[in-house]
Amino acid sequence: MAILTKSYPIKARDYLKAGEISMGVHGLLKKIGFATELIRRVSICAYEAEMNVVMHGGDGVMTIEIGEDYVNITIKDSGPGIEDVSLAMKEGFSTASEEARQMGFGAGMGLPNIKKNSDSLDVISAKGKGTEVRIGFVA
């Protein structure tokens, strides 16, 4: 059973605030006192997932669930969804807009980076159905 569950809204295309939610999650985990390596892994995944909502998705919510020996984060958005999830998971695949590229995004490394830094990853999405990304970590 989770000891703590918290949800934060994410706004699509709000580039000014982009990254703040994952910074908040980072701060929370740090205060609680998890091992630094776990904090780094969770933070980087939260950041990539948050950015994907801002860049590609629609308005959404990030939920963090903390247990004594695990952390789960779920990022759900109501955007256009991903047509081919296994293609999206490939390094270098990106549909990032010109706008996003100008800000240094769109290398197609976000999802692969999440895969690399987490213990479990599920991307549940279909065209027109929004996207749900579930990421799990063992503390």
Partner: protein, 420 residues
Amino acid sequence: MTDKTSLHYVHIDEKRCVGCVLCMKACPTKAIRVRGLKVAKIVGTCVDCGECIRVCPHGAVKATTTRDDYKAPAANMVISASPVLYSQFGQDVLPEDIQAALQKTFEYVFDQTYFLDLYNVALEIFIKETSGKEDSSRPLISPVCPVVNRLIAYRFPALLKNLSPILTPRELAARELKRRIEKDDLLKKTDYGVYHITPCSAKMISINNPMFLKTSYLDGAIGINDVFESVKRNLPGPDETSPVSPSNSLAIGWGISGGEIAAMGEGNYMAVSGLPETIRYLEKIEMGLFRDIEYFEFRACLEGCIGGPLTVADRYEAKRTVMNISRMFSHDKRIRYAQAERAYRKGWFFSEKRPQQPEEAGKRSGIIHEIERQEKIAKIMEGLPGKECGFCGSPGCRSFAEDVADGRAMLEECIRMRIR
């Protein structure tokens, strides 16, 4: 004398403090409380940044330097001055004039330029050699600003491994200076000390509690504000000439934010100054961002060391002076590269120890307990007015909620809770 065991090198004079909230509000680590609005006290992690010194209108906050005992033994003092000193007297006063003025007071005065150059060469070799390796920490972080070092040790211990292991120019200079003095019996005396003239309220702690050395090669630090008047008085007159300074434009520019990385060749480097900005970037680096940047130059003071708390000139005036003076100097390092590289291979540039996380920063009370505490804090926050006024004696509503949760303050201390 300075107390080597004291944790704070910035201290508040309780007789002068009137209990206003300016320093408490300015403190970037929220380490100050003014309980009952009586006197300000440093209760948390002080990183010696000196923000409180700047804002106190009553002169009640001071930095510990060697000031108090410097007058008497000045004749035995060997001086290694930060290049920031060159920025303090306007563009008509050149580094050689300042050197000459210092020489009238102190036993021996030494220009740091050569060591700044050497440092940059060593750093470039180190970056090149560790670049792209799986086990190298990136981004590397400059070890020059003691406030940043302490901030990392206390608040970002995961980044201690990112601190570059190259010794700072001030330590390299002091070590070499001592070696030369002893080898050639330069001063014909043994009771001398090497002192750093500094813009920085935190140099003293880096000398008394060094993070990269067993003991510092410096014997003390003197604030620029403490020598300012005497330098000014002793500046050479219009008819006097002083030997041209061996400095170069890179060294003179070191005190400006970006000066350290500007003195290196091209590379993926980044300079950030100001404490709030530094904290924001350290957070992001700790989150795992900026892996593509090789080297970060952080300076706690806005615009770099020319904005240090112990400077006299306004930081933007100082910047203008640096820009104008540096134009009169060569852009080239006067270094024998082969010799520098040989010294590098011998380990001459490397720190003696890796910085450690301070014990008091590592204390944890267990995950469940800490989560409960966070929930309690969130609950208390909900009841607070969110005015961030500071009347409670804590620097903001969040800090107050933490203080209440930890039993250091009572809810009734919030003035708005009382009114309601």
